[in-house]
């Protein structure tokens, strides 16, 4: 553990952290612009060119707002809620492989904060903790609407995590590794997973909508029924944290989707670029490829949000337990049979 290693990792961690924050910030801007585009409006255009400073203005506004505490018996939990939501949203990005090695200062540097063997399990673990942020905050709000939202959010997250995990298993059967880096390398060699596992992709996509609490699964915060749900009683930057965490989560799940199903930083012709133009150019292009895939998924999230209505609570449970989980199990069986037959 030399100092160069620490500096190198710190630089990457800071870069990844900054990237996640920046993406979450500009997702709010993009959300408004996409919504405006779909609804035939203009969207934010006052702060900066094309409204590009709007996220900063929002942040400044939220920081200077009055902090309101409801008449709650547990102020500690009330503060802990947004804290958990925010931190879990930010730490997932540690295991995402942003690119292959680059060669700088005579060293090979891996564009990933950490390549742990069980990064898939890590992602799932952190995602499951994320629901505590909503539950604890809503419980501490001492508000019936918030409580209903907590019940909805927790049961939704738990149900959809099962289907998500089962969809993931079929990928793991093919890759034989729990490391996201390994999964990416496998896809670079054999082709993207989306072509081998379209069903798993669809299940995973639907579940990530549910995990990020986005329409059509935004029952936990639907403003027309629950008046904002778990963040009804929140104000100032604590509410900002909840909103921010949602966009950070959206970014992370887009990244996971891109890494697991769309080949991560792999792009067609990567080997040729690496051989002819050098690995540095290859890694940068790889990073841009991953970034483009992530942006596509973020746009897809917004596109869906501004198009379709949301489910009702019982319909959501029905979809999760009676449709997605059986499909995921069938997918595992099919994957197993195919793997045995064509080994």
């Amino acid at each position: 553990m030399d100092s160069v290693f620490i500096i190198e990792k710190s630089a990457i961690i800071v870069a990844v952290f900054a990237l996640t924050m920046l993406m979450a910030m500009y997702s709010t801007w993009a959300e408004r612009k996409v919504a405006a585009f779909l609804q035939d409006r203009v969207g934010p255009n006052r702060a900066g060119w094309g409204g590009l400073l709007q996220p900063l203005a929002d942040g400044a506004k939220l920081f200077t707002k009055e902090e309101f505490f409801p008449n709650t018996p547990n102020k500690f939990l009330f503060i802990l809620g947004p804290f958990i939501a925010m931190s879990t949203a930010l730490i997932t990005s540690a295991v995402i492989p942003w690119g292959d090695k680059i060669h700088v200062f005579g060293k090979d540097v891996l564009l990933q904060a950490t390549d742990i063997d069980v990064s898939v399990l890590y992602v799932f673990g952190v995602l499951s903790i994320g629901v505590y942020g909503i539950m604890i905050g809503a419980w501490a709000s001492n508000n019936k609407y918030s409580l209903m939202s907590a019940v909805r959010a927790s049961s939704q997250m738990i149900s959809y995590e099962v289907a998500m995990g089962l969809a993931m298993i079929s990928i793991l059967m093919m890759s034989g590794s729990l490391s996201l880096k390994e999964i990416t390398v496998m896809q670079a060699n054999d082709g993207w997973n989306i072509f081998y596992q379209p069903l798993a992709f669809i299940i995973f996509l639907i579940c990530s909508f549910a995990e990020t609490n986005r329409t059509p699964f935004d029952l936990a915060e639907c403003e027309s029924e629950l008046i904002g749900g778990y963040h009804t009683e929140y104000s100032s930057m604590k509410m900002g944290f909840y909103l921010f965490a949602e966009y950070a989560n959206m970014f992370i799940s887009s990244a996971i989707l891109s890494v697991v199903f769309l080949g991560g930083y792999h792009f067609p012709g990567m080997d040729w670029v690496n051989a002819n133009w050098g690995i540095n150019i290859g890694a940068i292009l790889g990073f841009l490829a991953l970034f483009a895939k992530i942006c596509f998924f973020i746009f897809f999230y917004m596109w869906v949000r501004w198009t379709i209505p949301r489910f009702r609570y019982d319909q959501l449970m029905h979809l999760g337990w009676k449709i997605l989980i059986p499909l995921a199990v069938i997918n595992i069986i099919i994957t197993g049979i195919v793997m045995v037959l064509f080994k």
Partner: protein
């Protein structure tokens, strides 16, 4: 949600006590309103909830009661129109026209055909905006926001037409006894033509977004259904009754303002559920567009826009300054000293969301002796608790917006 503490004479008391003894689970009381975003106005529902399921509901009204009926008893007839604006503010020209027609019925005034057709056009425009808002708000309440803002710009276009006709947009105070206050400008007809060209395209897109959407169908079919018998027993009218399968439409049952000259269908539903109400309103928008086109085609030549009733219709300003008689008429009309017979009449029209009636009793004085508004929203809201019993919280929101209960009209 904590143990519910209620006085022993509360109607939920027995309910809650029984359930506590039964299996140890607790019920909760949830205040839906008075300031809940989905009520789109101010009214309260005290719901007894078992988790997400609604066991009982107790509606409360009167949060924006402005005593319009009482105020009307102290106002000359022509000053009552601004009150009618503020009832169903989504379709205020219908209310205005209904009030003028009530007075014309009282005074036996024959309105020229052209003015009647102009009234039909403006009333159908108002019906379109009313249905447009109701259906797109149903989309908002089920979570699809885009349809709402997408078609909302066409309400803006309609408001521009209103602005061209009477100068106001939301609370229009449009028309006078015997017709309109001025002739429609060529600009108004121009705007109307553009609207008739552009709106159908957007409305078709809006329909496509919802009518075959799986999630929307799941959310609305068999939600908040009401049988035809029950709907009639409650006194339902308008789209909500037609969705239950009763083809009652005031425009056909008791034609007014020359509605008998136009050909249009009365769309009816089957089960009276939220989806049927949505589809009936969608279909009615198409019928309204067809009526507007027919009225423009059949519009009589000339520029007559009001009846010749000098006792009640204000003379032109130059006459008032130069002409003794006109000045006297002007003075008497403005002071409200117009001859009014002693009578008791009821005039219904097909409002944006049901039969809107004015029951007027006069004693020959300058103000009504009694004026009662038959407000359809008031009647729908009585049935609301029964319709949401056993439904889930999300259903309650969807049912409320599909009934198109507008607080201003509910409380008057």
């Amino acid at each position: 949600m904590g143990k519910v503490v209620l006085p022993a004479d509360h109607r939920y008391y027995k309910y809650i006590e029984e359930r506590h003894n039964e299996d140890g689970s607790e019920l909760a009381i949830l205040n839906l309103g008075p300031t809940h975003p989905a009520t789109h106005g101010i009214f309260q529902n005290i719901l007894l909830m078992d988790g997400e399921r609604i066991l009982d509901a107790e509606p409360t009204i009167g949060y924006i009661h402005r005593a319009f009926e009482k105020i009307a008893e102290n106002r000359p007839f022509y000053q009552i129109t601004p009150l009618t604006d503020r009832m169903n503010y989504c379709s205020s020209p219908i209310n205005n026209m209904a009030w003028w027609m009530t007075i014309e019925k009282l005074l036996n005034i024959e309105v020229p055909k052209r003015a009647q057709y102009l009234r039909v056009i403006v009333m159908e425009l108002a019906r379109i905006t009313d249905h447009l808002i109701c259906n797109s708000i149903l989309g908002v309440d089920t979570g699809a926001y885009t349809g709402f803002l997408y078609v909302f710009q066409f309400r803006e276009k309609v408001y521009e037409i209103y602005e061209e006709i009477c100068g106001a947009r939301l609370t229009t105070n449009m028309g006078r006894i015997g017709g309109f206050e001025r002739d429609w400008s060529p600009k108004a007809f121009e705007l109307l033509d553009t609207f008739l060209k552009e709106f159908p395209i957007a409305w078709k897109e809006f329909e496509n977004l919802f009518t075959r959407n799986r999630i929307f169908i799941d959310r609305t079919v068999n939600v908040g259904g009401i049988s035809a018998e029950k709907a009639m027993a409650y006194g339902f009218t308008g789209p909500n009754l037609r969705a239950a399968g009763v083809d009652y439409d005031v425009r056909i049952a008791q034609p007014y303002s020359s509605y008998e000259d136009f050909e249009f269908n009365v769309p009816v539903g089957k089960s009276g559920d939220t989806y049927d109400r949505f589809c009936v309103r969608n279909a009615e928008v198409w019928e309204s567009l067809s009526i507007i086109r027919q009225a423009l085609d059949k519009m009589p030549e000339g520029n007559e826009y009001h009846a010749d009733v000098p006792d009640y219709y204000l003379p032109p300003k130059e006459d008032v300054y130069n002409n003794m008689e006109a000045l006297i008429y002007h003075f008497k009309i403005v002071m409200g000293e117009v001859p009014v017979p002693v009578a008791e009449i009821y005039h219904p029209v097909e409002g944006g969301n049901g039969e809107l009636g004015f029951y007027l009793v006069t004693d020959g004085s300058r103000t009504p002796y009694r004026l009662h508004f038959r407000r359809p929203c008031f009647i729908y809201y009585q049935a609301y608790p029964e319709m949401i019993k056993g439904a889930m919280l999300s259903d309650a929101i969807a049912i409320l917006s599909s009934l198109n209960v507008i607080a201003g009209e509910l409380d008057a």
